[in-house]
Amino acid sequence: MANTKKIQDSYIDYVLTNGEAPKSVYNFAKELKMTEAEFYKHYASFDAIEKAVWEDLTLATIINIKEQEVWPQYTAREKMLSFFYGYIELLKTKRSFIIYTLNKNPKKITTPSVLTNARKVFESFAEDVVNEGLDSGELADRKYLSNKYKDALWIQFAFIIRFWMEDDSAGFEKTDEAIEKGINVTFDLFQRSPIDNLFEYGKFLSRNGKFKEKMGF
């Protein structure tokens, strides 16, 4: 375990000092005074290190926020907000490296490969939060749609990270605004809304076709 951490830290340091990944695993291992085989025991490649950094940060955030006293009193909406505020705070400690890993990946709509592990962690967290919200009635249970809620939250995740990368306001204050407004809008959509009622009404009308005919529709 100690070595895993050491490799991670040395790799981050190397990348930030040199602006690029080491030439080869052999080179890097030599600098760490370990064999290449020893390196592979911990990581399969440099990419694997980068993925692990993201995954660790995501996990650490979730553990952190759950330790807060207020956590059990939070609604699903507040839990998600709390995650993002905590996450951005934590990412700040490694901002240069985070930006390096994301800039390496071309900007596309698909998830950058460096985020694959972090995505799994986040989505399982999001699913828990959403399910809690569904159970308590905070969120609307909609056929076919409810299990897409976590995907909507993942889109927010990607958006917020991109926003933060380009945020040049003092203390990343604008990212705070982006989180507050974005997550609130997303959860507003998850809640029962006039559209649900409209849908219900439409269903009712179609089920009662004979009235429709009588009334001349």
Binding site: V70, E78, L81, K107, I109, S169, E173, D176, E180, N184
Partner: protein, 434 residues
């Protein structure tokens, strides 16, 4: 006046128009960012264009109130009914309450720990909205505290809002950029100061100390160690807002007492401190159970430099305005009469401003003034309406300091009118270094 076919007339329709614009602008952002999600290299030009055209469209249909907004930037703005001013400032920061997690984050950023570790109790639900933040209730060592937390990004949105107003103001008022910038600059400076909570705490402490000797005026204690650039901690003040106070049917004697406290508070600051609490909004005052006036917000302070104070308040002292030469000299110093005005213009502005200042100074001309008299306010509003229609007043005149000094004094008069108070107006007189 030319009527526009689609000009919304009722109040409801007007505000609906603003809501619609808000929606459209929100929609433009959504459009922009959803496009950007798929094409990250999209520039903001298209977005800005969309926004500008939507705002312009709604402003040009709203000519009436948009003009009033622009007029507020001119020195005569506060003669116009105060409601316009309030509407404008409220619509600027009509923000939903901050979420609990964001409050915690703001505390953690400022103090390194959440509010639950700083206070004995802290209510995450805010008790009321302040102009650019919200107020929470807390307790520490048995003391009730009020904690003001600022919305993130407020400073930024003030600058961008004013930038948005600018081009429309040019177009609608036909003012030159240079002329308008002086006034916009003054407003922006005050508004940005309001977002600096550290400055507010410093000033609150300074002014409440200076005003300690005033009768029937009280201030909360401020706690600099529990305050930061985004958070202000002060004592929780018990009391009623003006409207609630009036609803309890207070005696005339009590209303006069509160009115006197207000008058003394403002005139002591103007004439002795030469810096004045420039936001006489009813929400900034409480009437305590002990029948005192509590002042709870020092966000907006206007300092009065000598080169404004001396010529302006000299006009108020009875006698000076009987001397036409001296009056014109003072008007020139205050830039109400400008160097390239011709004889006819000098005569015109001399008369118009003399009328205004005589009105303004009326409470000072006697030892006691009854603010419940409607005639005084009718005259003020009539004058405001009259000059709003005069082409000679299309260009703003007067030094920039008028914006906040007028706002303060007319705001004070309006408060005293709502109180129906009769006050002694000779308690704190203007005095000069000469």
């Amino acid at each position: 006046m030319k009527t526009q076919e689609t000009m919304p007339t009722t109040k409801v329709e007007r505000s609906a128009k603003f809501v619609k614009t808000g929606f459209r602008i929100g929609g433009n952002y959504v459009k922009h960012y959803s496009k950007k999600l798929f094409n990250p290299d999209l520039s903001r030009d298209e977005l800005n264009e969309d926004n500008a055209s939507d705002i312009y469209e709604s402003l040009s249909q709203l000519k009436g109130s948009a003009l009033k907004v622009a007029q507020m930037l001119s020195m005569d703005k506060n003669i116009l009914p105060k409601a316009y001013v309030d509407k404008f400032s409220q619509s600027q920061y009509n923000a939903p309450p901050l979420s609990g997690p964001l409050i915690i984050k703001t505390f953690t950023k400022s103090f390194g720990k959440p509010p639950s570790q700083i206070f004995d109790t802290f209510n995450l639900n805010s008790v009321q909205a302040a102009s650019i933040g919200q107020v929470h209730k807390a307790t520490l060592n048995g003391k009730k505290l009020a904690i003001k937390v600022q919305y993130p990004g407020v400073g930024d949105s003030i600058s961008s809002d004013l930038k948005l107003v600018k081009p429309f103001a040019f177009r609608l008022l036909g003012m030159s950029e240079k002329e308008l910038n002086i006034y916009i600059g003054e407003v922006e400076e005050r508004l940005l100061e309001e977002t600096d909570y550290e400055l507010e705490v410093k000033r609150s402490i300074k002014i409440s100390k200076a005003c300690k000797s005033l009768k029937n005026v009280v201030f909360p204690t401020y706690y600099p160690k529990l305050s930061s650039s985004k958070i202000i901690t002060m004592d929780w003040m018990e009391g009623l807002h003006l409207k609630e106070f009036l609803a309890t049917n207070p005696s005339q004697k009590l209303k006069n007492k509160i009115g006197q406290a207000l008058w003394d508070f403002y005139n002591f600051q103007q004439h002795d401190l030469r810096a004045v609490h420039a936001d006489p909004h009813p929400g900034n005052f409480l009437i305590t159970p002990g029948e005192k006036l509590a002042v709870i917000d020092f966000g907006c302070i206007k300092e009065l430099p000598d080169d404004f104070y001396e010529p302006f308040f000299a006009l108020i002292v009875p006698g000076l305005m009987d001397d036409k030469e001296a009056t014109i000299k003072a008007f020139r110093q205050l830039e109400m009469i400008q160097p390239n005005d011709d004889k006819k213009q000098i005569e015109f502005y001399y008369k118009a401003y003399k009328e205004m200042i005589s009105l303004f100074a009326l409470p000072y001309t006697s030892k006691v003034f009854d603010f419940s008299k409607p005639e005084f306010f009718e005259q003020l509003y009539a004058w405001g309406e009259k000059i709003a229609r005069m082409p000679e007043f299309k260009q703003p005149r007067g030094v920039k300091h008028f914006i906040y000094v007028n706002r303060t004094n007319f705001g004070l008069y309006t408060l005293l009118n709502e109180l129906n108070a009769t006050v002694r107006t000779d308690t704190f007189q203007p005095h000069f270094s000469k």
